[in-house]
């Protein structure tokens, strides 16, 4: 009986070891994908900042030009 149980334990241990091996690999893959994502987010953050600057520039030029447009209209009326 004890012998039988020991064999079962041996089999169970082998199963657990292979599951642990699989989990180890999966975690490594999760970590790998995570560092890919960190790099992407950094890149996207930089680009978003750059896009923000460009939007502000367009807004500023549009605003200046709008004022200049009124100025031209004023001169033309005179």
């Amino acid at each position: 009986d004890l012998n039988n149980r020991l064999q079962l334990q041996e089999a169970e241990t082998a199963i657990q070891q292979s599951r642990l091996e699989m989990i180890t690999q999966e975690i490594a893959s999760l970590q790998h994908r995570q560092s890919d994502m960190v790099a992407k987010i950094e890149k996207y953050k930089r680009r978003q900042l750059e896009l923000g600057h460009r939007v502000l520039k367009v807004m500023a030029k549009q605003e200046i030009s709008r004022k200049a447009g009124f100025a031209i209209q004023g001169e033309e009326e005179q």
């Binding site: 004890l2 149980r5 020991l6 334990q9 169970e12 241990t13 657990q16 599951r19 642990l20 989990i23 999966e26 975690i27 999760l30 994908r33 995570q34 994502m37 992407k40 987010i41 996207y44 680009r47 978003q48 896009l51 460009r54 939007v55 520039k57 367009v58 030029k61 549009q62 200046i64 030009s65 200049a68 447009g69 100025a71 031209i72 001169e75």
Partner: protein
């Protein structure tokens, strides 16, 4: 003989404990995996939005570039 039985019982308990912990670890891992896939999709979305905004910006930049910018240019 009794000693042997005690040992085997202890191992049984250890194996069971380990088995439970492994199952829990597996569950955690599956959840993190699903979360990660969702984050990756969101990242793809961010990228596509950025490209879209860039495409919106380019003609706007060209348009304001052609505008009379400063008053001294109008007088010249």
């Amino acid at each position: 003989f009794l000693e042997q039985a005690t040992l085997v019982n202890a191992w049984d308990r250890l194996l069971m404990d380990n088995g439970e912990k492994i199952s829990q670890l597996n569950g955690d891992m599956e959840r993190v995996k699903i979360d990660q896939q969702r984050l990756e999709q969101e990242l793809d979305f961010v990228l596509s939005q950025q490209l879209e905004q860039e495409e919106m910006l380019r003609p706007l930049e060209a348009a304001v570039e052609q505008l009379p910018v400063a008053s001294h240019q109008q007088h010249a």
